[in-house]
Subunit: 105 residues, 2 copies
């Protein structure tokens, strides 16, 4: 039977992955690999209202994947977790393998 400690551990990790479970948020992280961007630039690039962009970014921040830096009215977001790059690469590998398999090896 699962222990309370294991339960909490799984919840913590799932919470981080939840932050990665949206195409817009993945796209933002990819952009942030290049350099820091502000909310309005990311919103513009993704073609979504800035309110939505702000909410996605705050989810990423809450998960510890990005951090923000305010200068005047402008808020710049930057990548904090270096392993996110590996995560994404691993993800692509899994996805490709899976497609290959589903298309009948």
């Amino acid at each position: 039977m699962i222990s309370e400690e294991e339960k909490r551990r799984s919840e913590r990790r799932a919470h981080m992955f939840k932050a990665l479970a949206h195409p817009i948020r993945i796209y933002f992280l990819e952009k942030l690999k290049e350099k820091p961007w502000c909310v309005c630039e990311l919103a513009e690039e993704a073609g979504i209202p800035k309110s939505a962009a702000s909410k996605h970014l705050s989810q990423l921040k809450d998960a510890g994947l990005v951090d923000d830096n305010k200068t005047g009215t402008r808020v710049e977001y930057r990548l904090t977790a270096p392993c996110v790059l590996e995560l994404s690469t691993c993800a692509e590998g899994v996805v490709l393998n899976n497609r290959r398999k589903q298309l009948g090896l």
Copy 2:
């Protein structure tokens, strides 16, 4: 502006992370690191009905993270993506760093 190709790429990756975005599924993957387990064993361990366990496992399979092997009435699931171990380790690192920061440095 985001291209159609980038859009599809983000969607593919997000789909994989969505499979990781649930505590039960994280727990299942952790268990499967040890050795293959069948649906009823995992359901029992997690304390959930087998119908729910089956659905979670099929999501993991759909994402290419696990594979199944039927012998008689028993269906054994096993881990397919080796990098999942790294994913999980990275996740824990991010989570810990984040907690430390949120608790005031």
